[in-house]
């Protein structure tokens, strides 16, 4: 079937221009177009489809087939505002239609109630801007359910005693249990913990136009060739196009949002594929460009009224960047697991989601998962135990033995928000379009590093209990690279300490909305995409309500 896809003129004032087509942008586009609005989605990357997705590690990982390319869009990094930033790749995000959701691991658990009101519960944390969300888990619950059913999440409801309440079970059963999952489950139960089937945004059963997971094994960092991974590309974008009211415009790199004399956004200014400047007119603008590019766009859009960046009267645009803390332990087992087959994760546990700061000596919490997400070249170059020969027969012997017998225990946890941790515009470095490059300033809150190492000790215990023949842990240090880009335009009721209100409307510009990882007030305990998507469904409802009330002149 060929769809009759709309093509809007840039001079045609559409109802909404959505900037970014990833986890949030795809859903916002789908919801708003379904609700009858005319929508243009501007995506900086290309429109690739299943036929373009390959298992070629060099093309995908080294050559950034799916991701931002550091030679075109370089960035700089520094630990603190007192340091001079150096050019160093600090972020990777999906730069294509579907965004990072095309290549994510697809861990899709919900945030827990604590994540929304941790500040009230634990009190102030020194060195952190930890705040409560202006919304609660209960506000978001219907939208989590919507993600599970409309986008497609496999899982086992009520399997974890720590899970927050839910209004509906999952729409389909969990994915198969991998050998790593069995090992993890048995060892965790031996230790008295509560492992459960990982909720994954990967289909365990086929849906119209989409295959169930075929367990090809090139999953994390790769895009799915069969539509089984519930990316925006495989789901929301296609639903948006089916409405006949939504145009997805790839290769459109937005670099400025302009205001009219009344302080209302007039649309988006972007470079097209030939680097000509275009202006798409729209009655309202929704920025879903991710936790790095959304604040960058606002900072690039500084004007007379907002000299420090559009919608930045709070000074909080770009601030409070959070990654999620993490650490890794690895075990090698007697028999082949063949964990290279299939998606990455089949078992997780959340026994440590809410740790008692008085007992452990730090704030936050997290979980463990059992996974194998390392493709052959990466494995050979980075996942052999220390002391393994780097070449020759000894290298080949260990590589041959370990590839099918290795399991990773990944720890995922809190990043406390720290005001200095931020994205800003680099004063010197420019991207290939001549725009100021992103500058990341990031130093983990000391509690995050303590948490990671505490969780990693639990991972090591688990590998011991599992009877690993050999195991080792990578000590967690301060992070300098992330794919989770959170908190940089946080939501709040107070315009002095937040950028958007609970409707995702910027406090400063009434027809400008932001929704993506930048909206998060806390980091959860890892795996933020589920929450970003639930927020996108909710934001779409709120924006639609405002539009229906006449607030947006759409």
């Amino acid at each position: 079937m060929t769809l009759d896809l709309p093509k809007y003129k840039t001079t045609d004032e559409v109802d909404f221009v959505v900037i970014g087509s990833g986890a949030a942008g795809g859903i916002v586009a789908k919801e708003l177009s379904t609700n009858g609005f005319r929508v243009v989605v501007l995506e900086q990357g290309p429109y690739l489809t299943e036929k373009d997705f390959v298992h070629d590690e060099i093309k995908v990982l080294n050559q950034d087939l799916l991701t931002n390319h550091p030679s075109l869009q370089p960035n700089t990094f520094r630990k603190t505002p007192n340091d001079k930033a150096k050019q160093q790749r600090a972020i990777a995000y999906g730069r294509l239609v579907g965004g990072t959701s095309t290549h994510f691991t697809a861990n899709f658990w919900r945030f827990h109630e604590i994540d929304f009101h941790e500040r009230s519960k634990v009190g102030a944390v020194a060195g952190s801007t930890l705040s409560d969300w202006p919304i609660t888990y209960a506000d978001l619950e219907p939208y989590y359910t919507k993600v599970e059913w409309e986008i497609g999440v496999s899982g086992q409801a009520y399997a974890s005693p720590f899970d927050p309440p839910r209004s509906k079970p999952y729409p389909m059963p969990p994915l198969p249990t991998k050998s790593s999952g069995v090992i993890f489950e048995r060892a965790a139960r031996k230790l008295g913990w509560n492992p459960f089937p990982a909720p994954m945004a990967i289909l365990s059963q086929p849906r119209p136009g989409r295959s169930a997971c075929i367990n090809c094994g090139f999953c994390l960092a790769f895009a799915c060739e069969v539509g089984a991974k519930s990316s925006s590309l495989a789901t929301a974008i296609r639903m948006a196009e089916k409405t006949g009211r939504c145009e997805i415009r790839p290769n459109s790199y937005v670099h400025r949002i302009e205001l009219d004399a009344n302080g209302r956004a007039t649309g988006a200014v972007y470079f097209d594929e030939k680097r000509n400047v275009q202006r798409q007119k729209a009655k309202a603008v929704v920025v879903c460009a991710n936790g790095a590019e959304t604040p960058r766009l606002l900072l690039l859009s500084a004007n007379k009224q907002f000299p420090n960046g559009l919608a930045n009267s709070s000074g909080y645009v770009g601030k409070n960047l959070m990654f999620n803390s993490g650490a890794l332990s690895v075990g090698v087992f007697e028999h082949p697991l063949n964990d290279y087959k299939g998606f990455a994760v089949s078992r997780i546990l959340h026994d440590f989601y809410e740790l008692d700061p008085d007992k452990v000596g730090f704030h936050g919490g997290g979980g463990l998962d059992a996974r194998f997400d390392t493709t052959p070249i990466n494995f050979a170059l980075g996942m052999l135990p220390a002391g393994t020969p780097r070449w020759g027969k000894g290298f080949k012997d260990v590589l041959s033995h370990n590839f099918t017998r290795t399991v990773e225990i990944l720890c995922h946890g809190t990043s406390l928000p720290v005001e200095n941790n931020s994205f800003s515009l680099d004063p010197e470095l420019k991207d290939a379009w001549g725009l100021p490059a992103l500058r990341m300033t990031y130093k983990d809150h000391p509690d995050d590093v303590k948490l990671s190492n505490w969780l990693n000790a639990r991972a090591a215990e688990l590998l011991d209990a599992a009877g690993a023949q050999k195991s080792w842990s990578f000590p967690a240090g301060e992070q300098e690279f992330s794919v989770h880009l959170l908190g940089t335009c946080r939501m709040g009721n107070d315009p002095k300490t937040s950028v958007i209100n609970p409707d995702h409307q910027t406090h400063d510009v009434k027809n400008l909305f932001l929704c993506d990882g930048s909206s998060l007030v806390t980091s959860g305990r890892g795996q933020p995409t589920m929450t970003i998507e639930a927020l996108a469904f909710r934001a779409s409802d709120r924006i639609t309500a405002l539009a229906m009330r006449g607030d947006l002149n759409v």
């Binding site: 299943e50 036929k51 298992h55 070629d56 590690e57 060099i58 093309k59 080294n62 990777a92 086992q156 009520y158 399997a159 005693p161 079970p169 059963p173 969990p174 198969p176 050998s179 069995v182 489950e185 139960r189 509560n194 086929p206 989409r210 295959s211 075929i214 367990n215 090809c216 094994g217 060739e225 069969v226 539509g227 089984a228 890794l328 028999h335 082949p336 697991l337 964990d339 290279y340 087959k341 299939g342 052959p376 070249i377 990466n378 494995f379 050979a380 170059l381 980075g382 135990p385 220390a386 020969p389 070449w391 020759g392 027969k393 290298f395 080949k396 590589l399 041959s400 590839f403 990578f474």
Partner: protein
């Protein structure tokens, strides 16, 4: 499924091995797999060298064959790693051309230095070759760092050849990179060269009875 199965035979193998219901559920996937198989068959024939002279190719192949030697299983030589590197140097790794053209004579100089009378790396004995590479390897044991992505730009010629050899040995054989010929690299590490798999995957999930609720939550546990 036997990893010797050619990709051409992939569909027929699969069709006899699994249920019709599963096939219909996964039909889009199989079409995709068929596309891959077609691409793979097109890229199967070894080509002439595009960058290396025949003499250079012999030297690079000899070095790669020390990095991943042929033992009771195939090594870099059988995987056609030298063809992969040759292709890399005229495509995605053009920046490394100089490193190779300048690095090879440097290796040969080291051969002459250690073993006077021997001019070429490929002319040295296996033990001599190992000694030459030992002398070039700046790191005696592997660092335990987990890379998000391997780096093409390596710090020294030896390091470049080492990384390129690993890549050429383990790259998806269906890619256009000319490495991992016939999937022998994957065979060595135990990775079946197939585009889809069904559980059970390995030893530990073979007899797994399925997830059972923990008693305390059993009353709530239903999908």
């Amino acid at each position: 499924m036997d990893c010797n199965t050619s990709r051409r035979g992939f569909l027929s193998q699969t069709l006899t091995g699994i249920s019709a219901a599963w096939i219909s559920a996964n039909w889009p996937a199989m079409l995709s797999a068929a596309t891959h198989a077609r691409e793979a068959s097109q890229s199967a024939s070894p080509a002439k060298f595009e960058f290396f002279s025949p003499e250079q190719a012999v030297e690079v192949e000899a070095i790669s064959a020390r990095i991943i030697p042929t033992t009771d299983t195939p090594g870099a030589r059988e995987a056609g790693v030298v063809f992969f590197i040759d292709r890399a140097l005229v495509t995605f790794a053009k920046d490394n051309q100089k490193m190779y053209t300048e690095g090879l004579p440097a290796v040969q100089a080291r051969v002459r230095e250690l073993f006077p009378g021997t001019d070429k790396f490929s002319a040295a004995t296996a033990e001599q070759q190992e000694q030459v590479l030992e002398s070039l390897d700046e790191q005696s044991s592997g660092g335990a760092r987990r890379p998000f992505r391997p780096l093409v730009g390596a710090q020294s010629f030896f390091e470049a050849v080492r990384v390129d050899t690993v890549m050429g040995f383990l790259i998806d054989p269906a890619s256009d990179k000319k490495g991992n010929r016939d999937g022998v690299g994957w065979k060595v590490i135990g990775r079946e060269n197939e585009h889809m798999f069904q559980p059970p995957f390995g030893y530990y999930d073979k007899d797994y009875p399925g997830w059972q609720p923990i008693p305390a939550t059993a009353d709530k546990a239903k999908t």
